[in-house]
């Protein structure tokens, strides 16, 4: 007898479940996506014991008739696509037809559904993959799926589940993200004891962000929005039968109409954080492609590029980005969990995201505020006593503290402790998920006018719209520890890190001089022999022309060393070697291939850093004035080329608040 046999279906389903159903949150994800695909406008999720005991997702979507309800538990049964061609342009969140049977095979599942135009609904109960009960019943329109005892028949998997609070936090963050992606829908998430999220439909994304995270967070974010027509350069045209048959979808996919206009357009909108928010991992980067939450290296790289020279290389911003592109432009059929996608025109997409985000950052010119720290510790004055650097660190530490509870949820945007304004909700405990934390937003709609997209908080602080005029009006008072310039203007108190400020000034000047080919350089007294590692050597030979343009003149000297004869002016001879090593190391660590623009920026940043005045250097009054004036003239005065913040502002309003004058 042969050794090979076909697995029975229930085994196959369990194997599939291993891919699709990893933890309670993945069940929630599948069910939530089904609800969204069914056109629901109201989705309620109830979980108990972190979803281990109970997950119930109730929607008011299109429901199913009795036959469909039964068929839905067959493997690869779906209403979302019909043939392989449809895979080229999946417009729904789901399409594989694997979720329900997989979930059904590892839990006790109860499906209650009724299509709106049917007189009665259907109840289906499935226990570990076997249909237990099918009966007719009077039910509200829509679908409700109840999952009990997840993994009851797979003890191994059950053992690997984390603590209830962890699983709950995964679910909470997941629901939050889908709520963010669909502001026009009503989302509710309830644990056994609490309402964790109640978000009625609102008009726009910013209001949803406000609903979920509060005003403080919204203030820390910069809106991004851009559109770009797609041009399918060098890509094969879709086959004629595709083009002649635009209505390939069925009634489940009303949006699935192949755009008769040839290419369509790419849209991006969402929010990116100001540079002073720095996360140590990418967990706070949320990218949605056509409403689907994805983790994509290409997009992440585009974001890193956008924040280059604004954020230091090892920290990450908070990003909520919604990408919309014609469904034919993106392939979601990569992995069962559907968090990976392929873009048909990856490079175009990458550059589009990078440029849009960067443009938004440049335009906003955000300036870090002390307010954060003040809110974190209501007694404000001590926060100003340590050196500004310490204050800065403290400020970011305060942020970290604020975010720390949320960090565990996997999503770290969280409303900071709210200011004492009545109209603000108590978000303080939000997502400190212990199974009972509440995030009650039920009152939100009354307070948010549906016309504008700015949240109607009465005391809108003076907008930090354009930083340059503010900087130009600064009057320096003195230095803290000969490292940080204290300055005032009508807006309040400012602290400027003299090294990074000068670095920013030099950086832009060097780039300009480079662009104008007016680089000044200093010949060294005797050639400086620099030994290189093989990796550095490779980078050096790649960028040696660009280095020469930037005022370095170096010749190969022996097998693995170079002799530097001329170095950029302003850099001490003692620094040249260190600087070259640093530069070559940085570039050799780059994952992506080196492009010229990046090299130029890196070289300029490196020269600027080594030529700039250092901390612990006393400055005369006129020097400080000069530096502030020069800083005001720069294009991007808020962060140094390596991404550190340059200025902190303690606004008059915050000062008044801290002194209890308002």
């Amino acid at each position: 007898m042969g050794k090979i046999h076909v697995l029975p279906e229930h085994v196959a389903n369990k194997i599939a479940a291993g891919e699709v159903v990893e933890r309670p949150a993945s069940v929630v994800k599948e069910l939530l996506e089904n609800s969204l695909d069914a056109g629901s406008t109201r989705i309620r999720i109830q979980v108990e014991a972190g979803g281990k005991k109970l997950i119930q997702v109730t929607d008011n979507g299109c429901g199913m008739v009795r036959d469909d309800a039964l068929l839905a538990f067959e493997r690869h049964a779906t209403s979302k696509i019909k043939d392989a061609e449809d895979l080229l342009s999946v417009a729904t969140l789901g399409f594989r037809g694997e979720a329900l049977p997989s979930i059904g095979s590892v839990s006790r599942l109860r499906l209650e559904t009724r299509a709106p135009d049917e007189p009665s609904g259907t109840i289906v109960e499935i226990n570990g993959g076997k249909i237990f009960k099918v009966e007719e019943a009077g039910l509200p329109a829509g679908t409700s799926i109840t999952i009990r005892d997840l993994f009851f028949n797979i003890p191994a998997r059950k053992k690997f589940l984390k603590a209830e609070s962890t699983e709950l936090s995964h679910i909470a963050s997941l629901v939050t993200h889908y709520a963010l992606a669909h502001p026009d829908k009503h989302f509710e998430l309830h644990s056994a004891t609490n309402a964790m999220l109640v978000a009625p439909p609102v008009a726009g994304y910013s209001e949803r962000v406000y609903q979920v995270f509060g005003k403080e967070t919204l203030d820390q974010m910069i809106p991004v929005a851009a559109v770009q027509p797609l041009e399918r350069i060098g890509l094969p045209q879709p086959p004629p039968w595709r083009r002649s048959d635009p209505s390939g979808g069925n009634q489940q996919e009303p949006g699935e109409v192949l755009d008769p206009a040839p290419f369509g357009e790419m849209r991006v909108h969402g929010f990116v954080s100001k540079p002073e928010i720095q996360k140590l991992n990418r967990n706070s980067i949320y990218v949605f492609v056509n409403g689907r939450l994805i983790r994509d290296r290409l997009v992440q790289h585009a974001l890193t590029e956008a924040y280059r020279n604004i954020l230091p290389p090892t920290v990450y911003p908070v990003v909520l980005l919604f990408l919309e592109l014609p469904s034919g432009e993106v392939d979601v059929n990569v992995h069962p969990s559907k968090t990976e996608v392929r873009f048909r025109q990856g490079t175009v997409m990458h550059d589009f995201v990078r440029d849009s985000v960067r443009a938004a950052l440049m335009k906003a010119r955000p300036v870090p505020q002390f307010a954060v720290e003040i809110n974190a510790r209501p007694t404000a004055t001590p926060s100003l006593t340590p050196g500004a650097r310490a204050g800065n660190v403290a400020a970011s530490a305060a942020w970290r503290d604020l975010y720390a509870p949320a960090e565990a949820t996997g999503f770290s945007l969280q409303a900071p402790v709210p200011p004492p304004v009545n109209e603000n909700f108590q978000f303080g405990e939000a997502f400190r998920v212990e199974g009972n934390a509440a995030l009650s937003l039920a009152r939100a709609p009354q307070l948010i006018p549906t016309d504008g997209c700015t949240p109607p908080v009465p005391d809108e602080p003076e907008a930090p719209s354009d930083l340059a005029p503010s900087l130009a009006s600064l009057k320096p008072l003195g230095q803290i520890r000969e490292s940080f310039i204290l300055a005032v203007n009508h807006e309040g108190l400012w602290i400027v890190d003299q090294h990074v400020a000068h670095e920013r000034v030099l950086f832009e000047k060097i780039l300009k001089q480079r662009a104008a080919l007016k680089v000044e350089s200093q010949r060294l007294l005797m050639p400086l022999l620099v030994e290189l590692t093989p990796a550095q050597q490779a980078v050096f030979s790649e960028i040696s022309d660009e280095l020469a343009q930037n005022g370095f003149e170096a010749e190969p000297f022996g097998s693995r060393s170079i002799a530097v004869k001329i170095a950029p002016a302003g850099v001490d001879a003692t620094q040249v070697e260190h600087m070259l090593h640093e530069l070559l190391d940085q570039l050799s660590r780059e994952e992506q291939s080196i492009n010229l623009e990046k090299v130029r920026a890196r070289i300029a940043a490196s020269i600027a850093c080594h030529a700039a005045i250092k901390v612990n250097m006393p400055l005369e009054q006129n020097k400080m004035e000069w530096l502030l004036a020069e800083l005001a003239k720069t294009d991007c005065p808020m962060s140094c080329p390596h991404g550190r913040p340059v200025v902190l502002r303690y606004s008059l309003k915050d000062i008044q608040k801290a002194f209890k004058r308002i």
Binding site: L506, K509, K512, A516, K518, E520, S521, Q522, R523, L524, L525, M526, L528, G551, I566, A569, G570, D572, A573, T574, Q575, V576, E577, H578, A611
Partner: protein
């Protein structure tokens, strides 16, 4: 009695001396520069006081640099103690001009009495104070103090502020039986001064010594305030010793290889002009106002009968000055860092200077037009503008 011999007389737990305020203050002031300011080791902000014979010896150190000095005192009980340096200096300055009695109390407390003033200060255990190397008995070289002072002034400004592989945070002193030379560089310029015609006994061949910048600065300020004509210099494997009168400065030696400066000294700079130092300095200062703030680059244009100096930057504008010169050679344009030239002109003082160039890529040389007793040359690398 030699100062270092007093050190051996310590180890006791008593000390009582009387010293005149003026003498004590003079030595306290002289040693202030050596006391560590931002110390992490508390004992280094203290003086070590040692009493023996009829002398009080004071020692201050920051571990790299130490200064030991002494003054006359009436020693009632020999011994040693440590006293916070800055506080003592500030306090003694305010005392009336009279005798001060210093006495060691229990727990390292020190009592300071002067007339009707009475103070107790918190000292530390004498054993905590680092022990200092002793002045070598052999290989002592006598150097004329004012010669050394002048040579430090002519080179010290060119020392790099930071140490790297090929510039050192210090200067090189070369002693030969009949000359002394001092060289300093920061990698962009090099200052070289030689004084022939001195006799150095005990030196055979070449004696090269690297002197840290901090030591050179301290040495210069000690030489400024001394009336001793000759100082004594000696060194062992790790330490340099300079004895100026009753004061002994010891410094940790710099390790490293001073760059091969002789290779850098230009030999065929055939375009030579003579300029008035003050005029050149003023002209450069004027045009440098319009140079790039970072590179300080000024352009020197050598033409027949005229030296044109100019600088420009996109932000501030441009400026030109010209000096009349006696020159008939080929035209040449070369860029220099204005600060480097001004540094030299300041060090060289009044009088004419000679500027010798070869081409726009080669080092320029500046030196005083009339060689006095010093052979002074200053090499500046050009800039590419």
């Amino acid at each position: 009695m030699p100062v270092e011999a007093i050190a051996s007389a310590t180890g006791t737990t008593t000390m009582e001396i009387t010293v005149s305020k003026a003498e004590l203050l003079r030595e306290l002031t002289a040693t202030q520069g050596v006391v560590e300011r931002k110390t992490t080791i508390p004992i280094l902000s203290n003086y070590l006081f040692e009493a023996g014979g009829d002398k009080l010896s004071l020692t201050a150190t920051d571990l790299d640099l130490s200064l030991r000095t002494s003054c006359n005192a009436k020693v009632k009980k020999e011994g040693a103690c440590t006293i916070p340096a800055r506080k003592l200096h500030d306090y003694v300055k305010l005392l009336p001009d009279a005798d001060i009695t210093i006495k060691l109390l229990e727990n390292h407390w020190v009592s300071i009495r002067c007339g009707r003033s009475n103070t107790k200060m918190v000292g530390m255990a004498r054993s905590n104070f680092p022990s200092l190397p002793a002045f070598p008995t052999a290989g002592v070289v006598k150097i004329p103090g004012q010669v050394l002072r002048s040579m430090i002034a002519k080179t010290g400004f060119a020392i790099a502020s930071e140490e790297s592989r090929y510039t050192l945070n210090g200067g090189l002193m070369v002693l030969k039986p009949e000359s002394i030379t001092m060289v300093a560089t920061d990698g962009h310029r090099l200052s070289h001064v030689e004084r022939p015609g001195e006799k150095f006994e005990g030196v055979s061949g070449e004696m090269k010594t690297l002197i840290p910048k901090k030591c050179m600065d301290e040495l210069k300020s000690l030489l400024d305030s001394t009336d001793a004509e000759v100082i004594e210099f000696a060194k062992d494997e790790s330490t340099l010793f300079f004895r100026i009168g009753q004061r002994l400065l010891t410094s940790r030696q710099l390790t490293g290889q001073f760059p091969n400066f002789e290779a850098v000294l230009p030999k065929d700079n055939n375009k030579s002009i003579t300029l008035h130092g003050d005029e050149l300095s003023q002209a450069i200062s004027r045009v440098a106002q319009f140079a790039d703030e970072r590179s300080r680059a000024v352009r020197l244009k050598l033409e027949k009968g005229e030296l044109k100096l100019s600088a420009s930057s996109t932000e501030t504008g441009e400026s030109e000055d010209s000096l009349e010169i006696d020159y008939n050679g080929d035209a040449l344009t070369i860029g220099f860092n204005a600060q480097y030239i001004l540094d030299f002109l300041k060090a060289v003082g009044a009088g004419d200077v000679k500027l010798e160039l070869k081409d726009a890529q080669s080092a320029g040389q500046l030196r005083p037009a009339e060689g006095e007793d010093y052979k002074y040359r200053y090499i500046v690398m050009p800039m590419r503008i």
